[in-house]
Symmetry: D2
Subunit: 253 residues, 4 copies
């Protein structure tokens, strides 16, 4: 286990709450105005070491992919881990795979995709909005995953140039308009996924996939139910997120 | 895209249904007594090519991780993809991570774990039953993931020798008995997950994790709801698997 | 507690399974070819008494509304108790209320509605199919609820003549076509409910209700999750009915 | 449809929001400090009429059972309509039935039970806390259902004197302690229901019911999922109540 060095990120854990900072020369600010610290307090230390900032003690942790996803600079509609996890396995991803992503969002799914195909795979993300691409780029860089990423200003419905892709994943309002270009871009056996919030989009996308020749079209949602566990008192949590989005999977056969 | 060669696996797709076979010299049998074929019909062909066996035509596909999981020789209690996907991302896995698994099951989760840490990470699986280990080994080999796997006959509650592990995942009846050894094995910031079918196990495991010093103990389940999508008629599927298991996540901080 | 007499129904319980028969002169057949018995063996006995038929012993129970619903001669699409219960309370029903029902189905909901407004309320059911009405009539009669029921061959979308109804409930494919007639039929403060299987119908009905002037339009579904409870092993049931229908409630204000 | 008169309740609807007031001589206050009005403005008017209070116009509605349940003076743990509806039908209730209730809560379930057995049935409620009984009594009176209710200070686990009851329903922390007295109180064929928040209580109660001789022990929960319906955009609501309680049904056979 190496010591922390300049250029990498560190997670400062204060009880349950964590602050993710990149180790740069000079003073660094914590999120939420929770103070500032000098990187020289951290560089050279090891994971698990404790540092005191102001009156608080923090544990130093080397962030993993989940830390990066949970701390990205996000918009409200980010695909959350329960869904991105299902997308990654549902697309059959692993090191070396090549993925096309339509719709950058805040880059949360992008990071999860990149994490699954590294060190030698790649993700190409198309977005028609430059501001989305810029936010995604920032988050991909913070997660240290830039080497495998290509972010392109363009329309996944018409501008895809990748060939023999292993997977196409869409987080755009009208994925039914991109099923044809997805088909063209995929290798035989390649997999498709779309994430849509409404049942109207779900219907249009599934019908379009069948028209485009896709097989094994499957629609689903994953409902995450939390539990409150106290001694002698186990019950589902009363607080619950009722819906995120539907997932549609299909395959080019 | 390379041609199929001896030693690798091929997926023969017949409409929605697929047969996974390993390309070996001579005749190979399809699962379920669906005929036999000579590997010489396939070796040298490309993904997407079609072959005729008996009176049926099949498309040749190079299987991905999901194909391997769906076609493993399984027991009834295998952790299914919705859960293994959540486990992998929930443990923050990526290339290079080192994972300890307690309970081999049929190797379904093992394969998913190995897939996420390849090419340079590793999974060490402990099981007290030799027959479970052998079944897991066979499935890991078929998936071509043996290089990164160590399967050990032993008790994860007491026999773990790995140090500085990134993650520990347990699919055993009494994970509450293994929280101490999990703590010892993990690096600071390392993550824990247990999969348990009953709320009684859920309670014992969560309480034991807190006693052992773990932070961020979180209990949940993922409910997968399928949808039937026809033109003008979208509705949740009537057939549904009501329960698989609860997931417990925690972190060493 | 009175003794059983001719004309009423009796439930013969054999362990978990029950047989519902009407006490008529002479021999009566059990459902499913499970034998026959003479009503004279039962008339005059009390609830809780045991009788032997063939080699089996049965307990005599006076059936309640739930027994009648569970034993009706049914079609596949009957509204089941979790939904009919929510409909009855969601419509604010009680003794004396007047209800219009569109779509007789097998009479399962009809019986539940009648049960809730008896002894002095009434239900008027419209169906365009005579065979549905006949099946519903048979089931209403077996449940002993005929006095408060009017079954009419007609179209709830156009033929409703009831005025100042307390509630309108629709189990028809296009409830959006009946929101105007529902509005006309209801008293101020009266309540509306529709039961639909698909999200497409859900959308059309909700939009039509708002157009027709209804307030408090609320869409929902009730998901029933069973539990397996053994000593030391509590878990949600693996078998589960994934979907029945959506419920839409609204009010004339 | 009669005119409003002194002594009955009226619902003043202001858009989606309603105020429930009892028509008494003199000035009456609206809930939440929303003004006051003289009952003489309302008495003699008809349902659907409009009155202006301050600068707001209200529609006059005669409240039904659901209005009463939604406007009762409540504590935080009230059994909500999705559950009370299932309890009522699951207990097979109808006019004339006799019910024993253990645990008065805020009287929300009591009112629903009373509503289902009126005009000629009865509910006897036992509570060991006088303040709970008093709150329930107030709410039962506001709902106009006092005639059929008996509220007793006492312990449902030991003090039940009713015989040949049709149903027993328990909302107490330890229903497993009351299964014996429930058995004694029920007629043959009578039904039992308990409502419990945790899976630990669920387990104890189910085991105790089987020990006490009950049949058809069934454990479940009802999950209510709301939907957001806009034109072209139907989706499950993001806000959702994740859990209320488990329902346990059983029968004395």
């Amino acid at each position: 286990m190496d010591n922390f060095k300049f250029g990498e990120s560190v997670l400062l854990m204060d009880g349950r709450k964590g602050y993710l900072v990149k180790l740069e020369e000079g003073m660094m600010k914590l999120e939420g105005g929770r103070g500032a610290l000098s990187s020289s307090n951290i560089v050279g230390r090891k994971e698990g070491d404790r540092v005191t900032i102001g009156r608080k003690e923090f544990i130093l942790i080397r962030p993993d992919i989940l830390d990066h996803i949970e701390h990205i600079d996000r918009g409200p509609q980010m695909i959350i881990p329960k869904d991105s996890a299902a997308i990654i396995l549902g697309l059959g991803l692993t090191s070396g795979k090549r993925v096309i992503e339509g719709g950058a969002g805040s880059g949360g799914l992008t990071i999860a995709l990149l994490n699954s195909v590294r060190p030698d795979g790649g993700v190409t993300t198309y977005d028609i909005r430059d501001d989305h691409l810029r936010k995604a780029r920032k988050n991909v860089e913070t997660a240290g995953l830039s080497d495998n990423w290509e972010g392109l200003l363009g329309d996944v419905r018409s501008d895809v140039k990748v060939e023999e892709a292993d997977a196409v994943v869409l987080d755009i309002p009208d994925p039914e308009q991109a099923t044809g270009s997805a088909w063209e871009a995929l290798r035989p056996g390649g997999r498709f996924c779309a994430y849509v919030p409404t049942s109207n989009q779900l219907e249009r996308c599934c019908l379009s996939l069948r028209d485009a020749g896709f097989s094994n079209v499957e629609a689903m949602e994953l409902i995450k139910r939390g539990y409150s566990v106290k001694e002698g008192a186990v019950r589902p949590s009363t607080e619950m997120l009722g819906h995120t989005g539907f997932l549609i999977f299909a395959r080019k056969l």
